[in-house]
Every structure is written in C-alpha cells, then in structure tokens.
C-alpha cells in the first residue's frame, strides 16, 4: 500500500487514521494505535483473564479507564452490596482486574462513576483527534469530539490491553449533512433517529460517518454526543464531527485535558482536524434541518422511525424481508396498523442512558415537567449518566422537579436501557425511552420500547401517551 499523499485532500477520518497508523501490511491491513481504552465490567472479564493466562500485562494502564456501569443497581446501598450474585461477581471482577493491572478506575463508590461514555468526556479523557475504543457499541459517542471512536469485541479488548493497538482495515467515508436550522421541539435525538430512518440500520455498514452542516454546528457538545452515539444504530463503524471552538471550550479545564503550553499545542493541532475542500466521500446523505420533525420509533429496530404525527404502518407498506420483520414488530409492540402514534398509551417513562443521560437532557426534560405530574398509572425513572451529572441536577433543582412530578430519581448507570440490573420493563409494559435500542426484550423480556428525545419522553409522561412535544409547547406559551 502506498503512503498517503499529504497534498491530496483528506477527510477528517483520513487525517485521524493517518496519524495513528503504526504499521501497514502489504494487503492494507493496519495496526492502529489506540489513545484511550474505556473498559466496563461486562465485556472485559474474559479479556483480563486472557492476559492472566498468557502472562501479559496491560501495555498502557494510564490510557485505560475502567468504570462499572452496565450491571450496577441504581438504588441506594449498592456501594456495599449488590443482590444479584452474577452482577456482583462481574462488578467485583472489574474491581479486582482494575487494581491488579493498575488501570485508571472509578469504582461505584466514586462520585465520578457513571456510564463509561459519559465519564470519558466529563473527565477530559476524550479529546479531539484521538482514537477511542471500548467493548461497547456506543463508543461512537466520543466521535462528537472529532475523535475516531468505536466499539470492539472482547477479543479486541484483550488485544488493546496487551498491545495498545488494534488490527484494522480502513472504512469508507460517508458524509451526513444536516443543513439549515432545526424547528422548535426538534433535538439532536430527532436528527440521529431521522438519519437512521432515512438510511436504514445497515445504511452505514462499512463506513465512518462525518456529520456536518449548520444544524450539526449549532448543536452543543452534548447534542453532538447524542448524534454520534447512535451512529452504530445506522450500522456505521463510527460517527464523528469536526472539532470547533465549542469542542475546545468543552474540553478546557477538564481534569485530564492538557494544561498550559500543552493545551496551546493541542488546540493548534485540533484546528487542523477538518475535512479538506474537495476530499472524497464514498456516500453522501443530505437532510434539511427544517424537514426533521419530532420522531418516535414504532417497531423493534431503530430504523422504524416516524414523525410523531404519523400512523402505525402496515407490514405491507414494506418490501422484501422487511415485511415479515415489520409484522413481527407490530405484533410484538401490540400496535394496530393505521392507529395514530399519539394514541399509543405508555406505562413507563425512562430518561437516561449514554444517548440522553447528560445534564442538558435532564434540563430539557425538567423544563417540560416543571409543575406537572406523571399521568395516572405511569411510572417514571430518571437515571443520570454519572454521579457528577446527578449532583449537578440536584444543585440546579432538577431532581426536585422530577421527584415532584412522581419520577424515581436514581443513581448513575446504564439501567433500563439494557436491563442488566434490576431496572427492567415487565412483559407487555410500554415505555417512552430516551435510550438507543428498541430491540425485542432489550429493556426486559416482552417489554415494549419507543425511542424518542428527552422532551418527547417528558411530554408522554404528562399525558400518558405518545405526544407531540409541539402541542405541549403551544399550551405552555
């Protein structure tokens, strides 16, 4: 393989890739250096055990950050005891492995503990231009900083622990441009769901997506994290956004961000991280910001996206293998084709996850819920993305708004998003969720998940059915 021509226009992905290639084989397979390796309790025990069995060490423990999140209960008392034996064993295994191998570690007793993809940026571990991996598909989140971030399996976790590299073939470049402005009530979550609805869950397979355009630039860093978080739901290896002044402002002063002269040098480098004029994209999707409505999912794939004003589709609206899948989804979700989405009643509301568990998400939901109550018979749960998000929300009075509305105010973790801890839906229970996957059984066997933004979830909490946030906003005004 020939070396990249530095004069040829390159995409942001090309640049980050080029700066991390350790070795290139004749067939184009590369050894890519990994700047940050995030680790959680579910996908790492077998990897650490593999190291132990082969007598290997963690090559760069100072670049390896471990935090328990998937299994941990979100109720008080978890610091001293976890009821579920298997969960306890897994959390204890991470504790043992983190200490034995000397990696950076935020145990459950640490206020900084939280969902790995919220902790990384919050602590300044995630910085522009880095390669970031984790044994978790939502690692794509970190792409919001203009870093190349993606999920890996446990064998690759072991490979990165041992070598601080990953064996990779380069993906193709895809551009997703969101032009213009978003309309009121439309959020980062609606953008990312709309893109998946447009391209399908395999639309990004084989690509790294660069999100760009005015509507993306206008998003806060937290909004950008929401967009990149779900790149994997569109099948992409990673999603990223070029860093800008907002990115630098977000990073500045974080515990593990550079300081002084190193900061200046870092910013100078970060400013080179953009797609050159004329760089080649293998696929381009353009969506007008004003064409995006508040959306919800109706089925059991994230591509089953519709504007809230739509009706439940008929399986026959689809083609090929999707006809059977759509019918299965309609049956599983207990919906009637042709019914209005706004007539779908909910039993539960979940606000949290690595997609929408940050402070701005809680602020947005709380603004809708202030002075309101959960609809009769609806249960609500707010799970902050980290201990620090939780503290901040308490200081800002958001926690009080949620509890006054009748929500449970929980400790940080992944919680109901994947239901590995006790936070689960009952069979048939229907949930308005700010999380990222509506798969069958995802939030609990037989549970029914509708994905949406925090403000849409808050609206559903008040009315007891899927609701157009714009109607609630009109009432408030």
């Amino acid at each position: 393989m020939t070396a990249p021509n530095p004069a040829a226009p390159r995409t942001l992905y090309d640049k980050i890739w080029d700066d991390h290639v350790v070795d290139t084989s004749d067939d184009g397979t590369c050894l890519l250096y990994i700047d940050r390796h995030l680790v959680h309790e579910v996908t790492s025990p077998q990897a650490f055990e593999g190291l132990r069995m082969s007598g290997r060490k963690v090559r760069a423990p100072e670049k390896t950050i471990a935090v328990p999140d998937h299994n941990v209960p979100t109720t008080e008392g978890r610091e001293t005891h976890i009821d579920n034996e298997e969960s306890r064993i897994q959390v204890n295994a991470l504790d043992k492995n983190a200490r034995e191998f000397g990696v950076v570690y935020y145990p459950v007793t640490d206020v900084r503990q939280g969902i790995v993809h919220i902790v990384g940026p919050e602590q300044g571990w995630t910085l522009p231009g880095m390669t970031v991996v984790c044994g978790d598909s939502h690692t794509a989140t970190h792409g919001a900083f203009g870093s190349l971030a993606h999920g890996i399996g446990t064998s690759e976790v072991e490979h990165v622990l041992a070598t601080q590299t990953l064996i990779q073939k380069k993906s193709k470049n895809m551009k997703v441009e969101i032009t213009g402005k978003l309309l009121p009530g439309v959020t980062a979550k609606d953008i990312t769901l709309a893109v998946i609805g447009e391209a399908g869950t395999a639309g990004g397979t084989g690509y790294v997506i660069e999100y760009c355009g005015e509507a993306i630039r206008d998003l806060s860093m937290e909004g950008r994290m929401t967009v990149c978080n779900m790149a994997i739901e569109g099948g992409a290896r990673a999603g990223l956004i070029a860093p800008d002044e907002k990115t630098f402002a977000y990073c500045m002063g974080r515990p593990h961000a550079p300081k002084g002269a190193k900061w200046e040098a870092a910013v100078a480098y970060w400013k080179t991280l953009f797609t050159d004029e004329g760089a080649h994209f293998d696929k381009v999707i353009t969506i007008k910001g004003e064409d995006i409505a508040p959306v919800v999912t109706w089925g059991t794939s994230p591509e089953d996206v519709l504007p809230i004003s739509a009706t439940v589709p008929f399986a026959t609206d689809f083609q090929g293998g999707k006809v059977e899948a759509a019918q299965r989804s309609i049956d599983y979700m207990g919906l009637t084709p042709g019914m209005k989405l706004t007539d779908v009643k909910v039993d539960a509301v979940f606000i949290g996850s690595c997609t929408n568990g940050r402070i701005e998400d809680l602020r947005a939901a709380a603004a809708i819920l202030k002075g309101k109550k959960l609809a009769p018979g609806v249960r609500g749960m707010v799970v902050p993305g980290s201990g620090l998000v939780r503290l901040q929300a308490e200081e800002e009075g958001l926690a009080q708004i949620f509890t006054d509305a009748g929500f449970e105010w929980r400790l940080a973790g992944c919680s109901m998003c994947l239901g590995m801890n006790p936070d689960q839906l009952a069979p048939g229970e229907r949930c308005a969720a700010t999380s990222n996957r509506n798969f069958e059984g995802r939030m609990g066997r037989g549970g029914r998940t509708h994905l949406m933004s925090p403000v849409m979830a808050a609206a559903a909490a008040i009315t007891g059915h899927l609701t157009d946030i714009r109607d609630i906003m009109a009432e408030t005004v």
Partner: protein
C-alpha cells in the same frame, strides 16, 4: 481458536432481517465471566418460553435443525451491541458459519476471533441457500474457506470475498495478539514519536 477449513453441514434458515445481538444472546446471559457454556441460551427468548420450555416452532428446536452448523440469515445479521457473547453462544451451540447479504461490522469482526466464518453473498445466492436450508439434512451446504466458495446441495457454487489477513488467521487458528506482539518495536517507535508530537494524548 479452532481452525476453519471446510465444513459440510445442515443450515438453519433464519430469513428474518435485522437479527440483533439481543436476540442472539439476551443480556441476562452477559453476566458470565467465562466464554463457554452459552450455547444453551443461544436465541434464548425466541427459543424458550418464560418458564424455560422449548418453543416447538423455533427453527433450532425442530428435529431437522438441532444439529445445524450453519445459519442462513436475513439482511444485517448481528446488528446491535458489541457483545462477543453472540459468537461465543453460536460457537458453543455448534454454528461455524453464518451466511447473509450483510452483517453488522462489530459482530462480523468478532466472528473471526472465534473460529466462525461470516459470509456475505448477493441476495440471489442467499435465496438459493435459504431454499437448501429449509430442506435440513436433505440439502447440506458446503463452506470452503481456502477456495472461498459456498456450494449448494445441487452443486451450484457461490464465490465469496474475505479479507486475506482474516482468512489466514482463521485457516490457521492464529491468535492475533501473538502476531501483533511481533511488531512491538514498531509500537515502541510510534509511542516515542507520538509522545513528542501529541504529548497530551
């Protein structure tokens, strides 16, 4: 890792599109700290009732497909989470190859680390093999990694693409950490240069 050269076996037809990793191995089975023993829970919620009884309609519960070594699947197989428990469960059940029009990226990579060969073929080829799969033991499928072909029961052979390095590792059952360790001096050199160029990283 087990080597993969050639297999001839029964294929299970699973034409559903977007079979995700939560279907392949639901989260309650991710609490293990081992790699083995997950086969009994493969496709758990499609395969068993909540009280643990087999659902007779599910393909792997039917006598014709209980010994399947191959799955012929609908589009985008393995989408969703990065859990390597999905290929661990497939392997533990006895599945050595999955054939579809497309796979999710992380799942696809994870298969190769565990001696499973995922094969991408065009829709017509998958349809042809799906018909074979529906016939169970009466239409065994042959997968040949060395020659990169899948051969249907009627002798029709379909060529498939596979990355040369992945093929090499799978054919020889190689541990790629060991291979990378041979390049440790290149990693050392990169780290040294990187510490100078990007000292914050």
């Amino acid at each position: 890792m087990d080597k993969f050269t050639t297999i001839t076996g029964i294929a299970a037809p699973m034409p559903l599109v977007n079979i995700d990793t939560d279907m392949i191995i639901p989260k309650q089975f991710l609490k293990t700290i081992k790699r083995s023993g997950l086969g009994v829970n493969l496709f758990d919620e499609m395969r068993y009732t909540p009280d643990g009884k087999e659902i007779p309609d599910f393909v792997l519960n039917q006598p014709a497909w209980r010994e399947s070594q191959i799955i012929v699947a609908g589009d985008n197989f393995g989408c969703g989470s990065s859990r390597e428990h999905a290929p661990w469960a497939l392997l533990d059940f006895g599945i050595r190859s999955v054939i579809s029009t497309s796979f999710a990226d992380i799942f696809y990579n994870n298969c190769f680390k565990n001696g499973i060969l995922p094969i991408v073929l065009p829709q017509e080829a998958v349809d042809h093999l799906m018909d074979d799969a529906r016939k169970g033991a009466n239409a065994r499928i042959t997968v040949d990694l060395e020659n990169q072909t899948v051969t249907a029961a009627d002798g029709t052979a379909f060529a498939f693409e596979v990355d040369a390095f992945k093929k090499h590792c799978l054919l020889n059952g190689l541990d790629d950490i060991g291979l990378t360790m041979e390049k440790v001096s290149a990693i050392d050199a990169f780290e040294k240069q990187n510490a100078a160029a990007r000292p914050w990283a």
